[in-house]
């Protein structure tokens, strides 16, 4: 290993969502002003799926985010930017050499990593979650300089640790996935990007013909919440409820399962194109997000004392979830009709 020092002049900014944060930071590196919510909206980061038959950390799996790399890939496609994604490498050495070559050329490179062995990550979040994203922008001897948007400042990581997180195993294994931007056109067609992004988000949240994805999935979950205490007992029900709240609030989301970020995307695009209807939808999205916060607040009271009788009735929580689903459906119906 050579001890050459490479440092790309890359600006690290903290963000709510790991992948859209990385995408917007990469755009800014190539001289295009792109805020994080904008990248999030165009890349259709908003999502919901509820998969009770799969278990993640011993509780039903639900996801508030799209599959890994969707945000980056879609925002590049919709804005017509030339970018490369290498989905997987055949072995460890090749993947690290490809990264070194990129750094030598002066290209900041995004990586998909697993969180469990990430040394600088806050210890309370270190669970098996393989869809995290970060950008490598420098190398110094055995250390790599890394911009992780969950953290406040850029971090360093050793070669061996980087190999370990890039080749984390388990569900959604990253297999050394990396991505970077080749070339950005001088004028980005934001209008088309926003149109396509909104269209795809509306499709994914309301029209996917599968009953566990999007608004339909939220309704199924709302019905299940009511059944949990009878089916599994109070203790398990509290833990299952805790999984929803953890997924929505804690795991690097900026709060309320990305609903705040999507709301500010709607607000920003409404202001840019002077569209009243989108601004109204943004307001509704903001209120929905506040409702999610309220849901967390009530739900957490049940989680505090697991074994005792629940403080809040699970029926009430289920009804609240139903109401949230209704509000979100209204938002997506409204923005589905709008022509920008």
């Amino acid at each position: 290993m050579d001890s050459k020092q490479i440092m790309i002049n890359y600006t690290h900014r903290q963000a709510g969502h790991c992948e859209s944060g990385a995408t917007s930071n990469l755009f800014n590196f190539y001289g295009q002003k792109m805020s994080e919510p904008m990248a999030f909206g165009i890349g259709t980061g908003i999502y919901f799926s509820y998969l009770p038959f799969l278990k993640l950390q011993f509780a039903p799996m639900m996801s508030f985010r799209n599959l890994p790399n969707t945000v980056f890939h879609r925002s590049m496609k919709y804005l017509g930017v030339d970018a490369t994604v290498i989905k997987k490498f055949s072995n460890v050495k090749e993947s690290m050499e490809a990264l070194d070559r990129n750094l030598e050329k002066g290209i900041p490179t995004g990586l998909q990593v697993g969180v469990f062995n990430l040394t600088f990550f806050p210890p309370e979040y270190r669970m098996h979650y393989n869809m995290h994203n970060m950008v490598v922008f420098g190398k110094e001897g055995n250390h790599y300089h890394v911009s992780d948007t969950v953290m406040e400042h850029p971090q360093t990581i050793t070669y061996d640790d980087l190999v370990r997180v890039r080749w984390a195993k388990g569900p959604f294994a990253p297999k050394g996935k990396m991505y970077w931007i080749n070339n950005v056109p001088k004028e980005l067609d934001i209008r088309t990007g926003v149109q396509l992004g909104i269209k795809k988000s509306v499709y994914e949240m309301t029209k996917v013909p599968f009953w566990l994805i999007g608004i339909k999935g939220m309704r199924v979950m709302a019905r299940d919440i009511k059944k949990w205490p009878k089916k599994h007992g109070n203790q398990k029900a509290a833990f299952y409820l805790g999984q929803i709240l953890r997924m929505a609030e804690d795991f690097g989301t900026g709060g309320a399962g990305f609903r705040y970020i999507f709301g500010s995307f709607l607000k920003e695009s409404g202001e840019t194109f002077n569209n009243k209807e989108i601004l109204d939808a943004a307001d509704l999205m903001g209120r929905t997000a506040n409702k999610w916060r309220e849901f967390t607040y009530l739900g957490a009271r049940n989680c505090k004392n697991r074994s005792s009788q629940p403080v809040e009735d699970y029926g009430t929580l289920g009804d609240m979830m139903m109401e949230i689903a209704g509000m979100e459906e209204q938002v997506f119906k409204q923005i589905g009709k709008v022509k920008i």
Partner: protein, 134 residues
């Protein structure tokens, strides 16, 4: 919800937890989305601490089982890395059925070095460590 910038760490039992500031969003009554850098509110911490409580309970339970000779050390180390048999089979590259057998002490004693090495790599420990539970 309160997003105080002063970390008093009231809920977490481990002192290393909750030391990092994150970007949080809020929506106010005037219709503006606000960004702020701060710590999570109390209710977010409660749910996270609840999860860690459950994990440590499970680890302790598994440890007692292994010490009593009812299960093999694989059960303990599996709980320690927060895995279930399904995800462990993905991590170690051993089939689910075999893992369920290896969780019993009888079958664990007969394991070859090759399979041991597979488990040891998944748990990030040495083979000698794998053979016993502290």
């Amino acid at each position: 919800m309160e997003n105080s910038t002063e970390n008093t760490n009231p809920v977490y039992k481990d002192k290393n937890y909750g030391q990092y500031r994150e970007l949080l969003f809020t929506y106010d009554e005037k219709g503006n989305f606000q960004k702020s850098v701060g710590y999570h509110g109390e209710s977010d911490r409660v749910v996270l601490q609840q999860a860690w409580d459950l994990f440590s309970e499970r680890i302790e339970e598994a440890r007692q089982k292994v010490l009593a000779g009812k299960a093999s050390p694989i059960v303990y180390y599996m709980e320690k890395i927060l895995a279930d048999p399904m995800s462990l089979s993905m991590m170690a590259g051993v089939s689910l059925l075999k893992i369920k057998l290896h969780c019993r002490p009888v079958f664990f004693k007969r394991l070859s070095d090759k399979t041991m090495a597979k488990y040891a790599e998944a748990f990030n420990i040495t083979i000698d460590q794998l053979k016993k539970v502290e």
